[in-house]
Symmetry: C2
Subunit: 230 residues, 2 copies
């Protein structure tokens, strides 16, 4: 039985649902590539590709992202595995999707050789998508939304130094609703994982205090099973 299943075999791929925030447009963005080859040549799709034989799944996503877009993630986690027969016209392809986040400083896309082009798309204005990638993205957005209300995910979408207004705006963009400023600040400061850097950001008006995220303290609190609700 089992042991005799040598051929035929399914292919295994990875796909990346990569989120970034565009503060100018106040929009949640997702990274898509225009497919350079069949199937679905010319259509938009998630970055991803085939897993190599001696390569971890996570490593495969990172490699594919580098090849196709040269982007650097600040966070990544496994999302879900999509394996319905027929989801890929080439044959049986099982794909493990990952959720990735990038900081604004690293959203610049350096085009690689694999993909014709890579572009950030507004999550609410997506084009038609190849394969079952629309479903994968839907799953990714759900995960991101549910995650942000109990983990400081917003941090991974911000630069190293950020103002509390930045953080609030990130959360608002992801959740798609406004949050009360005073309540928000009280909550995020309560845990003590945000530390003022002493620097301020001067833009047009009153300067804003810059904060950084204390990863060590967060890891410590997380180990104690403390919740982080926003």
């Amino acid at each position: 039985m089992a042991y005799t299943y040598k051929y035929p075999k399914a292919d295994h791929t990875v796909d990346a649902v990569v989120f970034g925030i565009d503060f100018d447009e106040a929009a949640l963005k997702i990274l898509l590539i225009e497919r350079a080859r069949e199937p679905f040549k010319g259509n938009w799709a998630l970055p991803g590709g085939f897993v190599e034989m001696d390569e971890d799944l996570e490593a495969a996503v990172i490699r594919e992202l580098r090849e196709e877009t040269n982007i650097r993630l600040s966070y990544m986690e496994q999302l879900y595995t999509f394996g319905a027969p027929g989801r890929d016209p080439r044959g049986r392809v099982i794909s493990t999707a990952f959720l990735g986040l990038v900081q604004p400083g690293h959203i610049a896309i350096q085009e690689g050789s694999d993909a014709a082009k890579a572009i950030w798309w507004n999550v609410n204005e997506l084009p038609g998508l190849a394969f079952d990638h629309a479903e994968i993205i839907k799953t990714g957005v759900q995960r991101l939304r549910s995650k942000i209300s109990w983990q400081p995910v917003g941090i991974e979408l911000l630069p190293d130094e950020f103002t509390l207004s930045d953080l609030q705006q990130a959360c608002e963009i992801i959740l798609g609703r406004t949050i009360d400023k005073r309540n928000f600040r009280r909550k995020v400061l309560k845990f003590g994982v945000l530390a003022p850097t002493g620097n301020v950001r001067k833009e047009n008006y009153r300067p804003a205090q810059l904060y950084q995220f204390d990863k060590k303290r967060y890891a410590l609190l997380q180990k104690q099973g403390i919740d982080f609700e926003v």
Copy 2:
């Protein structure tokens, strides 16, 4: 590139972390099989096996469970995909693990041909396990614990008719701590997804009201995004 990856290919398997509650022992149990073949012949492992080419991942788990144990699940969801190179001595094997729950009436194991034998093990007293199955189980237990505090998962581990004490005991076994009876009852009744059947269970002492779960109402409330905390 990608398109040229025809051989070699990884194998793809599914594994099932199946939970059941043993009310006599007041213990959370997990279903394991003794492997009938190499590798790890004679060791204990999760039920599972290779995915067929035209078969959904979920269908593969259900089939393997039927072949190996003939057990019927009351609930199933995808857990995580384990794909580290070297996790299987036979070569590259990527495995998608599922979490399954069975009701007490269906915990009887009818041995199949594939597995030497299948046995329910106390989650706290597991034997040495084949492959990376110890890690998979750990992931499964975490998921079950986190799930039970916001979804009526306990239901799936109980018979169709049950008392509130049964439900509470199920939650206590999973969470590994005691719960206040009055608070528990108030909470689970508040949502209106439990309906008294009118029957009572007479055992030794005072008879207990039997309840059933209103799946329709639950689905309705869930669609409205209502939380179910225990």
